[in-house]
Symmetry: C2
Subunit: 411 residues, 2 copies
């Protein structure tokens, strides 16, 4: 049986909202308007009317003194990689920070597929609470996916763990610049591009169209997997994905600002790539990873969830991937990239150059939010990996380095 | 000559952006992406991932003790008028505050046509700087409006003052619930409703379609007028309207939060009704009105601009309007409603029940942010006017009343 997503099966935008409501054509009407007048950005594009003018400093914010003597050409390398924000947190204190001209420290930046690594922590939280079993079949939680690649019946049943580790063969091209690719259909279904008449009406419906050859166990990077995880999160938490991300992660950070997530026509958050947040708040997520899963607001995931990520996934599953060319012992597990290098670096990575880079050896978190001209460039990945490794080396050589502003204990 | 708006003539979303760029189909591409990755909410709907969970208190915020003994049935009257937020600022201090269950004090609420009264202050600022002359013809600033109702050549030339006071006959039905009305075409052009094939592509283009019979001097409430003012603001400031609203007003408030404004496909802010902000920040705007045009961040408009508003406009122009039925000496000038009553109340009013009510006699600002089931209800207007008048009377009777939290000097 081929599953069909129906709006009725999804968490409501407000308690009691009828299925699929409100829409761009109904938000002004009662009873929807009592919700929509307070959440208009979920329905319509909105510009900030900033409380400061100009909104962002006209000069770059450059507090790199702690690193410049030890990292060759640091500023030039940040500029060459189209860096909008860069932050190094060491021993849970800000050691260095940079924001390009026109981008303010409290501005949110799209983090693209680093969003996947955030989803990992939401899933991990629901695993810890017993609501999600990684060994369970996907279709146990989302029967709408029966008959799709996420079913696999009767032979190779697909589990949540397969989705977390992206070890499913899916007829899905992640070629971002090919209009015929599935990733562009995925974008259009989520209103990230203008929808065509023949496209699925929303992300849930898109996910039910996916097929594969039944092979499991080989890594295939596929953004759809994360949206399936978000669907499982909604089913097991009873919350919208945006709410679950708040409840299980963002509210535990002592965050400076709300994050945002793009939503499709049904209000489903684009878990695979739609989160925007500040560099400092993203660094706080990294600190939770270093701290064994505990944040200022309490435990997020089990220590075991964190340990499994730092231990890395299957290098065999990963063989031949572009990540392996940079990191020969590299792997992907639970929505995180594991370098397998001597430093034990683990990272979230977004297209066009966002990194949430963890350096357990140096007790450091590095956030680099770039916007490259190309989505997935070996050249730029190479430059940024080299930079982040050099910063780690510099930290090793300066273990007594004082933070630049010790009062700003950000987490 | 009938004017035609071209995107080239409008302020760019970022310095050097090609006309009309970026769009929902191009925002991921260079060079647009460097701007759009930091401003994604301007292009796509986004949900907040709140730093607190739940996002808003599960109980109402009720700090009405200073008023309850003096205003009969206050709480019941707030609930009966679908009030989401209510705030009384007296002598520039918070005297009373209420937020319904599920709506937080730092949540933004759509203020609909109170947005018009905010636009008044931006225009006033540009009048004070000499950039806008209220006596000048509209087409001096916006030649694209030649041949439209905003031209009036060769006989009854339309001036900026006519637009400010809404004394232009326009073939425009402001019947919010009639799909054939011009206000709904206006909405669709601005992406407030789903656009139809025959609709103008954006707000600028919609404005160039408007025609009238050439009569000037009689009040006709028409939301298009405010968008014409915003177009004049863009032309004379060189800024996008959202930026001008920040530069000339929001950055002068010492605001707690950024406001937001909905934007159309070109990024043009919906000046007539698209602003969302917190109750406290809106109260700060009211305080500037009471303070003769000066805010914590400096002068916004001339004292004369404020004085003209409190003096009121033409009651003759207003004769027979629904506002006159509630306020017999009522008038409308410079995008504010003037009651002409003994208290000298002046107010901004949004459909579905938002009020920014000024009470110079009591040195008080009252903000009521409601979401009625109907857009424009004489019944609900009557209830809210009565309530705000009663609060004013209660303040007169309690001139020594201490504020409930004197440290929260909000402006």
């Amino acid at each position: 049986m081929s599953g069909t997503a129906t709006a009725a099966a999804h968490p409501a935008r407000y308690p009691g909202a009828p299925a699929g409501q409100p829409t761009v054509d109904t938000w002004q009407e009662a009873p929807h308007n009592r919700w929509s007048f307070a959440h208009l950005g979920e329905l319509l594009p909105t510009a900030a009317v900033t409380r400061r003018f100009p909104a962002a400093p006209e000069a770059a914010t450059n507090r790199l003194d702690a690193l410049i003597p030890r990292v060759p050409n640091l500023l030039e390398r940040l500029e060459a990689t189209y860096t909008d924000a860069f932050l190094v947190l060491r021993h849970n204190q800000v050691l260095a920070e940079y924001y390009r001209q026109g981008f303010a420290p409290d501005d949110r930046h799209l983090v693209m597929s680093v969003s996947k690594s955030l989803c990992s922590l939401v899933v991990g939280a629901l695993v810890a609470s017993g609501d999600i079993d990684p060994a369970a079949h996907v279709t146990t939680y989302v029967p709408e996916l029966r008959g799709t690649v996420y079913d696999g019946a009767p032979t190779n049943r697909v589990t949540v763990q397969h989705v977390l580790d992206m070890t499913i063969h899916i007829d899905y091209s992640e070629d971002y610049v090919d209009p015929a690719s599935e990733v562009q259909t995925h974008d259009r279904s989520a209103d990230w591009r203008i929808r065509r008449a023949e496209d699925p009406g929303n992300t849930y419906e898109f996910l039910t169209t996916l097929r594969g050859n039944g092979t499991l166990g080989t890594f295939q990077y596929c953004s759809a997997n994360t949206d399936v995880l978000a669907w499982i999160v909604e089913r097991t938490s009873g919350l919208r994905y945006s709410e679950a991300l708040s409840k299980h992660l963002w509210s535990k950070l002592d965050a400076d600002r709300d994050a945002t997530i793009t939503v499709d026509s049904t209000g489903f958050g684009f878990a695979n790539g739609g989160v925007s947040c500040t560099a400092r708040d993203l660094a706080r997520v990294g600190q939770i990873m270093l701290d064994g899963g505990i944040g200022p607001g309490g435990r997020v995931v089990s220590e075991e969830w964190i340990r499994s990520i730092f231990a890395g996934g299957s290098t065999d599953a990963m063989a031949g991937s572009s990540f392996s060319r940079i990191h020969p012992q590299g792997s992907y597990t639970r929505q995180w990239w594991c370098t397998g290098n001597e430093r034990g670096n683990v990272t979230g990575i977004g297209i066009h150059g966002q990194y949430l880079w963890l350096d357990p050896q140096a007790d450091a978190v590095m956030v680099q939010l770039s916007t490259w001209p190309e989505p997935d460039s070996g050249f730029f990945h190479g430059l940024q990996n080299r930079l982040l490794l050099d910063v780690g080396d510099a930290l090793d050589a300066s273990s007594t380095q004082a933070p630049i502003h010790s009062k700003e204990h950000i987490a």
